[in-house]
């Protein structure tokens, strides 16, 4: 039988702490990735996209060739990463945050997958074959989606209790 993962006894204390720590770490990572791009006027996704290999490489090229698409892609990345970061870190609508974050890292993965035979102009910061840190972060975000914690620790808990107390929403 499935457990109600929003109830107070869904997890043991240490399970809950472990999941929240994972949520905070990933949230922190997204938040800084987003903010550091927002504060850098010269940042652009163009270099990353131009180095794209495999099935999305022609799409990447098309994005780079069109300044409007490129600007749009840049904004989505900067703001998207920042918002997902806030969501996970503060526990605000974190299930959606986890799904959005999952989509981001999977896109990063598939635009430049570490498959055998694909050569990238920038050397990676580690050694990867098929599995890289993007894919692992995607896996971790999937876990966060399956085991939500923001209704136990996070703004979502506060929002729910305010709703039930003042608006009578159960």
């Amino acid at each position: 039988m499935k457990k109600d993962l929003t109830s107070n006894d869904a997890y043991s204390g240490s399970q809950l702490i472990g999941l929240v720590i994972l949520r905070i770490l990933i949230g922190w990572h997204f938040l800084y990735e987003g903010i550091s791009k927002l504060v850098n006027p010269y940042w652009s996704s163009a270099a990353y996209l131009l180095d794209s290999k495999w099935i999305f490489s022609s799409l990447a090229e098309r994005i780079v060739a069109n300044p409007i698409f490129l600007g749009f892609t840049d904004s989505i990345n900067m703001w998207g990463l920042t918002i997902v970061g806030f969501s996970l870190l503060l526990g605000f609508m974190s299930r959606y945050g986890a799904i959005a974050g999952l989509v981001f890292v999977l896109l990063y993965y598939f635009f430049a997958p570490p498959f055998i035979g694909l050569e990238y102009s920038k050397p990676g910061e580690g050694s990867y074959i098929i599995v890289n840190k993007n894919l692992i972060e995607a896996g971790a975000l999937y876990v966060l989606y399956l085991f939500p914690t923001s209704q136990l620790i996070g703004l979502d808990r506060l929002i729910l209790s305010i709703q039930s107390k003042y608006l009578g929403v159960k």
Binding site: V20, S44, V64, L90, G91, L155, L158, K165
Partner: protein, 531 residues
């Protein structure tokens, strides 16, 4: 009583709810404290980068607006590869070129050559005369003069073909002449054009010999025409920025400058295609070889020489006039060096043993004792290991082109020297790191471009193909032609005027003569002679 307890419990629960709801907020607070510290440190580091030390950090205005009301009639002598690029800069491309470029732009969204051509300024000129000794090329020039695919629309006038350059110069309606013949014809055509009162745009290297350079210099001075030498690097935004950095002495004392050429393709080594329609009927070979010291009858060898003329001293000076001239002019533009006191050079034909007599590996040393400076030039046509050009100061080194980020289209980086005196305090404090650039200039870094061929890439890295104005890509050849046309109209002095041209010519001829004579050459400025 029980009611009170309930109230209290509900309060306690609320408090717990709040605590659990806001449990991670302190982490966010900690995040922002760290973010603020990081940004403050970055700001401190940035304020110590050269970027902020350079006064007048603005890029040059996109194009100066000089009234272009008077329509100018331009003639061209020599419509080869370079000639066709120069006329494109003037606003006239062959129909083949515009069709291919438009198609290429359709297929490759990253190719910007077509839009760059179509968006260049209309110079209000017509191409009215074309002189070329090869019929096929002359016809291409005529076709270009009629092509309506251009920024100014339908040309006001179209070109007539002239068999001999003297006939073209005899046309009183022609105001200005582009000389893009092989080097051995430069001085004769340019001198006669100047004497006929026509303004001259002459390709580099200025002349084939030192004496021709003297004659051309004197003629341009006497006639007072507007003269421009074809070093389009003069229009490159990056070099103007580099000049500001040098002028403010931000590199400290500079004692060594290293210039390099690295090519590794037959095209880059002047093994150009022999046109299938080139034969005794379509090529005026006798006129072609008229000014050259050695004459040969028309045949297979003559065809090779006609289409690959840069490989022989009879028609040019090889690496010296073709590529060293560019690098010398670049450094003369940035540092204002002038003519060296001594030059020596050596090299050989080590890779292209195809009957040429110019070296394919060649090194030259220029000495400036009054400036405490040596300029080293090193060239190979059999390795593409892009070394870039380096201005090496006691306090910092500027690297222009080449690998390690400086290869970004016409950009450069400045790196502090670990033993710098000027930056010692900053180096010690760690706000400057000698491993990372303290200034990097990458124009149009947000714009990406697909440049394909190795030779194009070579030129682009040297800033010879494209430059940037306000982050927008423009063809530096177009800007250089425009600079000349603007100077004709407004009576100004073009960027690579006859004085600058003379520096280039004398420096290159000193180095060439040193190779040919096997000894060091000295410049005597009083006698205006090589001794």
């Amino acid at each position: 009583m029980s009611h009170e307890i309930e109230e209290k419990q509900s309060d306690i629960l609320n408090r717990r709810e709040i605590l659990k709801g806001l449990a991670t907020v302190p982490v966010l607070g900690f995040f922002f404290v760290k973010l603020w510290q990081k940004m403050r440190l970055d700001k401190l580091k940035k304020s110590n980068l050269l970027q902020n030390l350079v006064k007048d950090n603005k890029s040059p205005a996109i194009v100066s607006n000089i009234g272009n009301n008077d329509h100018l009639r331009v003639g061209i002598v020599g419509y080869g590869g370079r000639g066709s690029h120069l006329t494109r800069g003037l606003g006239f491309a062959t129909p083949d070129w515009t069709t291919n470029a438009a198609e290429r732009a359709q297929n490759n969204k990253l190719y910007k050559g077509f839009t760059t051509f179509m968006s260049q300024a209309d110079l209000n000129c017509s191409l009215v005369g074309v002189c070329d000794l090869f019929d096929v090329r002359a016809e291409l020039g005529l076709a270009a003069s009629k092509n309506e695919v251009r920024s100014g629309g339908k040309p006001k006038e179209t070109a007539k073909r002239y068999r001999h350059y003297t006939d073209l110069l005899a046309n009183k309606d022609i105001d200005a002449v582009i000389v893009s013949t092989p080097d051995h014809w430069h001085s004769r055509v340019a001198i006669d054009a100047a004497k006929a009162g026509k303004h001259v745009y002459c390709e580099k290297g200025l002349t084939r010999t030192f004496n021709e350079a003297l004659d051309l210099y004197d003629t341009v001075k006497e006639t007072g025409i507007t003269f421009q030498l074809g070093h389009q690097n003069r229009q490159v935004e990056a070099y103007e920025q580099a000049k500001k950095i040098i002028n403010q002495n931000l590199l400290g004392p500079i004692n060594l400058v290293q210039l390099t050429t690295n090519r590794n393709s037959p095209g880059g080594a002047w093994v150009w295609g022999i046109h299938p329609e080139g034969n005794a009927k379509t090529i005026d070979w006798e006129t072609f070889q008229e000014p050259s010291p050695n004459k040969i009858p028309f045949g297979e060898e003559a065809l090779r020489r006609f289409f690959r003329w840069r490989c022989w001293f009879d028609y040019g000076t090889g690496l010296s006039g073709d590529l060293f001239s560019h690098d010398f002019d670049q450094i003369n533009q940035i540092m204002g060096l002038g003519i060296p006191k001594y030059a020596s050079s050596s090299g050989g034909i080590y890779f292209y043993k195809d009957g040429r007599d110019v070296p394919d590996v060649w090194n030259a040393t220029l000495e400036y004792p009054d400036k405490d400076l040596t300029v080293l030039y090193s060239a190979t046509l059999s390795s593409l290991n892009a070394r870039g050009n380096r201005i090496m100061g006691h306090d910092a080194t500027m690297q222009i082109g080449g690998e390690s980020n400086a290869g970004t289209l016409g950009g450069f980086i400045v790196t502090a020297d670990p033993y710098s005196t000027k930056y010692k305090e900053r180096l010690d404090k760690g706000v400057i790191n000698s491993k990372y650039p303290i200034y990097s200039y990458a124009p149009g870094s947000k714009e990406i471009d697909g440049i394909t061929s190795a030779t194009s890439q070579y030129f682009a890295n040297k800033g010879l193909l494209y430059t940037y104005r306000d982050g927008k890509r423009v063809d530096s050849t177009h800007l250089h032609v425009k600079d000349w046309i603007d100077a004709i109209r407004a009576g100004g002095v073009p960027a690579c005027n006859i004085e600058e041209a003379f520096h280039e010519a004398v420096a290159c001829h000193m180095a060439t003569e040193s190779y040919l004579q096997g000894r060091r050459i000295e410049w005597d400025p009083k006698k205006r002679a090589l001794v």
